[in-house]
Amino acid sequence: MSPLTGQDAMVAGGMAAYRALVSRRSAALLALAGLCLAACVWSLSVGSADIGLGRALEALAGGGGHQGAIVRALRLPRVVMGGLVGLGLAMAGTTTQAILRNPLASPFTLGIASGAGFGAVLGIFLAGGHHQGVVAGSSFACAALTAMVVLTLARMRGARAETLILGGVAVMFLFSALTSLLQYAATMEQVHEMVFWFFGSLSKAGWNEIALTAVCVLPPVPLLLRWCWDLNLLMAGDDTARSAGVDVARVRVGGILLAALMTAGAICFTGVIGFIGLVAPHMARILVGSDHRFLLPASGLLGAALVLGADVLGRTAWPPQVVPIGIMTSLLGVPFFFWLLLRRTRGAW
């Protein structure tokens, strides 16, 4: 492969190509930030109360009178919560995929969502669906417990990717069965509440809930960004990563814990919003490649934009009925998945 003539040109060409790639990726990242912002604005300007964009923006600044109060109290929480949830689920998904070196991995496949679902169902069964705090707390606790169980299983076997995946699948089946059992034993009223928890909803979010979710979703972000080199190396194989100085077990365990925290914090209030943790990283990869310096922030922004977009579509498709957000993200996610399957010529990444 030793170039004969034009060697300098090829060398320069190679480096120039790389630099062009990096600037393209940075541009894509900026574009995604713009998309996310646009989604926020779109979500703010749409609603049943017929309040236009101008008023809505006024309301952000504190004005707008009565309508402004409605925007601040009923529309803005949706937007903020939707953004947080999308960010958290997408970044958790990206991390899980890198750590398990599996393109189909997500915190959901690790059983976290099943654990959270079981916790919510348990809370509804014991305390009633209207006790928001109990349901969310129970959901979070069970999700955390699930993560612990999966990690303990993995620890006993050396924190290999395959062990984590299998452990997650086993846990997922366990909690699904337990959830079904509780649903079977519950009263009709409780069953209604349980079913709708699984559909997902941004309507229940108030500022307290948003604060709690933010505490779970935002602090892990800088930690994950610090680990982007480690995540890059993990994709090259455990051996290579360890050789380059990555503490593989620690990154794996820590990554799962952070991903679990972000996921649990996101869904314990809003219910199951699926596909974001799976689809956002893949979409981001198509735009910015697999370098986690770009991929992590890109998938976060994209996840937020997707959730907000799905929410707006759910609210405007069939007013005043709302298509639950969990259903909306699944409906949008499945065709994308088919497209991904049919399009991919090389591997699954």
Partner: protein, 273 residues
């Protein structure tokens, strides 16, 4: 400051893969480990890297036990290149090699890091591929990328497992040349598990012959890889032909079981890695 393995023994799946292996790699020295399939070469390298816990013995670099060192610190001393990487990987060549700078990286790659990567890519002739994803490269190109990653890590010692197995003739020579140059210029030592006996004889300062997990011979390559030793360990009849001031090994034919047993002290070991 040498890399020292002392009485290494390693058990896996109820078998002794390594049995009392001791060797030393000095700075700037290229040591090749040769032996048939299943001799324990890969396990030896993994033990040296600290990835596999030996059942007995120890590995030390610069007097310090590798098992006690933190990964980041160990990475400044040792770099390991496995035999094969995972099948798919969507990082660009530049990014993967840059990731090899991890022990030296701060929050952002410094200009020095970027220069080092560019220099290595140039050395390996990979610059034109800098923006390509690793998983679209050929096996040989991919192997070079992994090697480049290890080189750019600037360790004291390189542990390479079959670094030339997928390379064509030209690249085999190039890589071994690079290894020698690094060793000479920067005093980087290398422990290289290699199949090609001629490459081992040509580029290594010392050789270690491994058979059934034990060191059968060690020293100057020409003295280690004698026709008698090769017949005993590999079961192949070879002839040494003089070439260009040195000598090369030419394989004639496999030896029958009967002939072999005359020359061997122990029975053949199973080819389990």
């Amino acid at each position: 400051m040498s890399l020292l393995a002392d009485g290494l023994s390693c058990r896996a799946c109820g078998r002794d893969i390594l049995n009392g292996v001791s060797l030393e790699v000095r700075p700037g020295q290229v040591v090749s480990v040769v032996g048939p399939n299943g001799a324990g070469k890969t396990t030896l390298l993994r033990c040296m890297q600290g990835m596999v816990r030996p059942s007995a013995g120890s590995v030390a670099v610069g007097g310090r036990d590798v098992l006690r060192m933190r990964p980041r610190e160990l990475a400044r001393h040792l770099a390991y290149v496995p035999q094969a990487g995972p099948g798919t990987m969507a990082l660009t060549v530049f990014d993967l090699v840059l990731a090899g700078r991890r022990p030296h990286l701060g929050w952002r790659p410094s200009p020095r890091d970027l220069e080092a990567v560019e220099a290595i890519l140039d050395d390996f002739g990979l610059t034109a591929l800098a923006a390509r994803d690793v998983d679209v490269l050929s096996g040989g190109q991919r192997q070079k990328v992994f090697l480049a990653r290890a080189f750019v890590q600037e360790p004291r010692y390189l542990l390479l497992d079959e670094p030339t197995s997928s390379l064509d003739l030209r690249h085999q020579l190039e890589v071994m040349e690079l290894l020698r140059r690094q060793a000479a210029a920067r005093g980087v030592g290398a422990l290289v598990a290699i199949h090609d006996l001629n490459l081992a004889r040509r580029y290594a300062d010392r050789a270690v012959l491994l058979h059934c997990g034990e060191v059968v011979a060690g020293g100057e390559p020409a003295h280690v890889m004698t026709p008698e030793a090769i017949r005993a360990v590999y079961g192949v009849e070879v002839e040494c032909v003089p070439v260009n001031g040195g000598s090369a090994v030419f394989a004639l034919r496999p030896v029958s079981e009967g002939e072999r047993e005359e020359h061997m002290e122990e029975s053949t070991c199973d080819g389990l890695h």
